[in-house]
Amino acid sequence: MTDFEPRILGIACNWCTYTGADLAGTTRLKYPQNVRVVRVMCSSRINPSFIIRAFQLGADGVLVGGCHPGDCHYGTGNLYARRRLAATKKLLEFAGMEPERFRVEWISASEGKKFAEVVEEFTGQIKALGPQTKFRMERIKTAEAAAK
């Protein structure tokens, strides 16, 4: 599995994590390019179905980033999000997915370095786990096999 490049969905809140990611870029930090970030206004905007659907559509991992609890731009958004994402994590675990494929991190706008580190670490973790084949749609699997 040395040539396995995981596809990871990143969902980042506009005010902290996304800005943090920007900072990582502007300070020219190097980190793996496996995470494709979708920007949302707040971590509480994240519908857990985004995460479930991402796995169904073939994501190998999902990384969610938000402001540190208490620092949410909207005051309390991430405090709600924390409960929701915690329940989502339990949900995936009980379904039998590897819980390591889903990660939540609080990363502030000034933590460009933390963003790079988290991505680095998470990508390594997913690489070690290998491709996510459990939930991936049959249709995608067939299409991938055909493409090979």
Binding site: L57, M137, R139, I140, A143
Partner: protein, 338 residues
Amino acid sequence: MKKFAIEYLSGVIASLQQKGKVFAPVKEKDGFYFREIADPGDATLDFYNTVMSPKHLFFPQTEDMIKYRINKEGADSAPVPINSGPQILFGVRPPDVRSFELMDLLFEEGGIIDPYWVDKRKNTIVIGYAFDSVDPLDFYNTFDIHAADPRGSDIFLVRKDRTVLARAFTGKGEALLDGLAGLENASAADEKAFEDAVKKGPGLKTRKLDLNGVAKKLEAIFDAPYWQKASMACLNCGVCTFVCPTCSCFDICDETLFRDGRRCRTWDSCMFTNFTLEASGHNPRTRAFQRFRQRINHKFSYYVSKFGVTSCVGCGRCSRYCPVNIDIFSVVEKAKEV
């Protein structure tokens, strides 16, 4: 006529597998389902009736019609070839066998020919199987079907203690039965036992409804408050329509994933709000009772005016699996008195 010991069932299934894909009842959890048999040991004849009707053998819940790939100019598409190959449907109860004939009217004989249905129907040998007990919710006697009714089956099975007697009723069935390895020839006594069992079929009584005038009556009470009352408990789930052997409504949808897609037809249910939702946003059947009325009327009135028969075989599935115990028999029975 042939026979085999019930212990030898897996052997029979295995030799049937030489002739085509075999679909037979398989136990899953508390229920039985017609499944394509991989391991002959999975098939069983110790069941009352399956949860899902066998209609999905001819009319699968999902069936691809076209596959396409979207490109810059539009899309490349190709129809999915229709070719099912020979299949054998094993252990179908008499009302379900009758349901195929009712569906033939719609998919084949009604003027519009559905190639998907026709192809599978033509390639399938139906092996019927007599009931030897009655569930209180069944009412197939209403439709002149009896417990050991071989009509419509290519081969019909009757259970005699630990022995299963098999007689062919069509040329197709005969050819299959003769060429099947491992069956014993039936004796004269077996022949007699088979005929007795078929003769005794009508003795097993289910509920029975007099359908005289029902179709007209339902038309007349279309606007009666009866429907609100009858459908009060209805949750508008799709259980009744999905387990039903004669419900045939489907939806055609395009399922696209990135660039690749398929156009498939999928079972739909008149119980769902979306069933009648129009592109404009208008929905002619928004109320639960309207959808409920539609299902009853379609079976007991519209089908009659179109094809001259009621689109119901009295298998009792919708009553058995309804989460709130709505019993179609009682609904029609009470409608007569409105």
